[in-house]
């Protein structure tokens, strides 16, 4: 059975590292894996999405509406934007960080209020994490992606060591301690 995940956020937030780490981890666990990224213009502060799919044999590289078992979101509005991709029994792990898009900055639109409560009211299994604060506690806001992966890891049966090994394989040694700390903070946040 193929499992589907989406990693969503704002261009420049570090979704490529998160998907690289997940791809590595799932491959070492013996799955067929596909990871689909977006490069180029949409990266410039735009809404970005990465798809991760794994199973015995994966065909399509993308996750479509109503298909995601998991959505990991680096920003709250982006979680709301891609919610229609989540299965009705899917899990949502989202940072509570809010980054105003340009239409909000210019006053042409408003950032929707109370998004976490509105999503909860739909019956969605949501973990809302203050990943930015936890990442700063770990040593750098750049580790917010790893905080979220730490939180996500609670939904998987893999031993913690499997996640640590994947981090060691994908992250430069001089940053590894900070990222391990970020992962632990995320894992314990739920």
């Amino acid at each position: 059975m193929t499992k589907n995940m989406m990693i969503v956020g704002v261009g420049g937030q570090g979704s490529l590292l998160a998907s690289k780490l997940l791809g590595h981890l799932l491959l070492t666990q013996g799955y067929d894996v596909k990871v689909s990224e977006v490069h180029g213009m949409s990266q410039r502060g735009g809404s970005v999405v990465t798809y991760v799919r794994w199973g015995d044999k994966v065909y399509s590289p993308i996750v479509d509406k109503g298909e995601a078992d998991y959505i990991v979101s680096f920003e709250l509005l982006e979680a709301a934007r891609y919610l229609d991709h989540l299965k009705t029994d899917g899990k949502l792990v989202t940072s509570t960080q809010q980054i105003d898009p340009m239409p909000v900055i210019t006053g042409a639109a408003e950032y929707p209020s109370d998004l976490v409560d509105k999503i909860k009211a739909l019956g969605v299994d949501i973990a809302a994490v203050d990943a930015l604060t936890l990442s700063e506690e770990a040593g750098s806001s750049k580790t917010a992606n790893i905080v979220l992966l730490g939180c996500l890891s609670n939904y998987f049966d893999f031993d913690e060591s499997v996640w640590i090994e994947a981090m060691e394989a994908c992250i430069a040694p001089r940053f590894i301690d900070m990222n391990k700390k970020a992962f632990a903070l995320g894992r314990n946040s739920k």
Partner: protein, 583 residues
């Protein structure tokens, strides 16, 4: 060892293992990483060429010299390289020559959605189309064999979802083919009419031979299905969506060689099923071929000509159930891409906006100058078009528009195809103002070096073309350099050059804020007591500046302290450490 590889990295691995020795490309999403990955192999000579035409000519020369060669580009880049392409089809090759081209269905990062398969048909060249990274690797490697066997350049056609998806690849070892002997052969390589007339029938015979080859090659395979009431012909990423939806239910003819297409194989497949369906993104290439063979089928009458496909789209069109997702009934504001905080283009576009200029734009990050609130762009067409368009606009207005019309073009785009436009301005004398946005890198595609940066693809020092003497030597007397962080200076220079009674070039020079050597300064601070809520700071469209609780607010995680917003505040509410200097 099994490893996850980006489609483009897998293609590069195949190119490497085939013993390719020369790679020349121009960057373009989604093709760029093929060449960047090739550059990591020391056995390959690899370069960024100024444009795709030059890249293809370099690959052609290397092939003639007897070394396997590759050039890579995006779909619109192939338009630029079309001139050498059509005639390289006539000459054929010496050592194998492969042309990588990547389409962008869905236009994630492109100005149109053209289908490169038309070029394979028009130029009479074989085209291979992989459906995942493993095939990108295998097909890239095999393309060189095919090239040498049939004496032809061979296309390797990628698309966004194949190029930028990672899937499992099991790499092998590089072969090191001996250099083929170069033998002077005027009849084969000098394409003047007398020789080309004799080459043309050879090319037509080559196509007939390739059709025979297409009938039996394992590149085109039939996958059996349980139910023959439907049979699907498909390729590339569409094949993956079909498999996702249908599994092994219906027979599938999966095409890996998309030009030329087989005849008997397709007829036999059609005869084995009750209803024939063609699933292909963009244009109706396979469908048209099938219809020429007299086959009845479902194709573009069911599937769209526009945009990317997906598993849900294929399911819906085949009348199969589509999953329901979670619905949030709320108005979600769009998040369009924007110029980064500290982007040097921002100050210049603010100046153009303030002076109500008509702006002929070009292709690069700075196309985002069209986005509100700057909205400082009128036209964007293709690489290099800004200068010709400004000249034409001014000529059509009998020069009356010259005092408010500018062309904006990036440093890399100017090298690509802007120089010929400037030559036209200098030669045919419009008083056009050309602004070169020199951010010292090719930005949009992810920081590639170009002829003006002084470094090559490996980051080693290389030849450097200086823009000022170049423009002067092309006959432009007025060449001015400005710092786009200095709004006052920008305003003065733009006004002066627009008023000037001769052609001029303004070089707006400051490196891209994302370059590693550009160190961010401390974030700007707002003194809320001084802020009068006039929103002047909001006119530059910086993602780091917002109004919170009625007052200007700086997002410290985004602000790089460029100081452009500081200059907009008449009430001194903005403070930064270094004023407007950021060197």
């Amino acid at each position: 060892m099994k490893t996850l590889m980006l489609g483009n990295a897998a293609a590069a691995r195949g190119i490497y293992e085939a013993g390719c020795r020369v790679v020349s490309s121009y960057p373009g999403t989604p093709s760029t990483e093929i060449t960047e990955e090739c550059a990591k192999y020391d056995e390959i000579y690899c370069e960024w060429a100024p444009n795709e035409k030059v890249a293809m000519e370099v690959a052609f020369g290397a092939s003639v010299a007897g070394r396997r060669s590759f050039c890579g580009m995006k779909h619109v880049g192939l338009n630029v390289a079309a001139d050498p392409l059509f005639t390289a089809s006539y000459t054929g090759v010496n050592a194998g020559m492969v042309i990588g081209v990547a389409d962008d269905a869905g236009m994630h990062s492109s100005q149109n959605e053209q289908d490169s398969r038309h070029y394979a048909i028009a130029a009479k060249l074989p085209m291979l189309e992989p459906a995942d990274s493993a095939e990108a690797y295998e097909f890239a490697k095999f393309a060189f064999e095919l090239s040498e066997q049939f004496d032809t350049p061979v296309f390797l056609k990628m698309c966004t979802r194949i190029a930028h998806s990672q899937s499992v690849v099991e790499p092998g070892e590089r072969v090191e083919p001996a250099q083929k002997e170069y033998k002077k052969d005027i009849a084969k390589y000098v394409m003047m009419p007398g020789n080309a007339i004799r080459r043309h029938p050879i090319i037509e015979q080559r196509t007939r031979d390739l059709i025979e080859y297409a009938e039996t090659t394992p590149l085109n395979r039939v996958e059996e299905g349980r139910d023959h009431k439907l049979g699907i012909i498909t390729s590339s990423t569409s094949y993956q969506y079909v498999k996702e939806v249908c599994g092994d239910e219906y027979p599938i003819l999966k095409l890996g060689m998309i030009n030329p297409l087989p005849v008997k194989k397709i007829k036999d497949f059609a005869a084995s099923v009750s209803l024939l369906c063609v699933v292909e993104e963009l244009d109706d290439i396979i469908e048209t071929h099938c219809r020429k063979l007299g086959l009845a089928l479902a194709g573009k009458d069911v599937f769209p000509l526009e945009g990317e496909f997906s598993q849900n789209l294929v399911a819906e069109k085949l009348g199969l159930p589509v999953p329901a997702g979670v619905k949030l009934d709320d108005n979600i504001p769009a998040r369009p891409p924007v110029m980064c905080p500290g982007c040097p283009h921002r100050g210049l576009f603010y100046t153009l906006s303030r002076n109500k200029c008509t702006v002929m734009g070009d292709i690069g990050c700075y196309t985002l100058g069209a986005v509100a609130p700057l909205s400082a762009m009128d036209v964007t067409l293709c690489m290099g078009a800004s200068i010709g368009a400004a000249h034409g606009f001014n000529k059509a207005n009998d020069g009356e528009s010259e005092n408010r019309t500018v062309a904006v073009i990036g440093d890399s785009t100017f090298m690509h195809s802007g120089m010929t436009g400037l030559a036209n301005v200098a030669y045919n004398q419009s008083n056009s103002t050309v602004i070169i946005l020199d951010n010292s890198i090719t930005g949009m595609t992810g920081h590639q070096q170009n002829p003006t940066t002084g470094y090559n693809i490996k980051g080693d020092p290389a030849g450097k073309i200086d823009l000022e003497p170049l423009c002067r030597s092309m006959g432009i007397n007025r060449v001015v350099v400005v710092d786009p962080y200095d709004l006052e200076e920008c305003d003065r220079v733009v006004k002066e050059e627009l008023a000037a009674n001769e052609p001029s070039v303004i070089i707006s020079r400051r490196p891209c804020a994302l370059l590693k050597y550009v160190k961010p300064k401390a974030p700007v601070r707002v003194n809320p007591d001084k802020c009068r809520s006039c929103r002047a700071c909001m006119r530059i469209g910086c993602p780091a500046v917002a109004i919170k609780d009625g007052k200007a607010h700086i997002d410290n995680t985004l602000c790089v302290g460029c100081g452009v917003c500081v200059q907009l505040c008449k009430f001194d509410a903005f403070e930064n450490e270094g004023g407007t200097e950021n060197d």
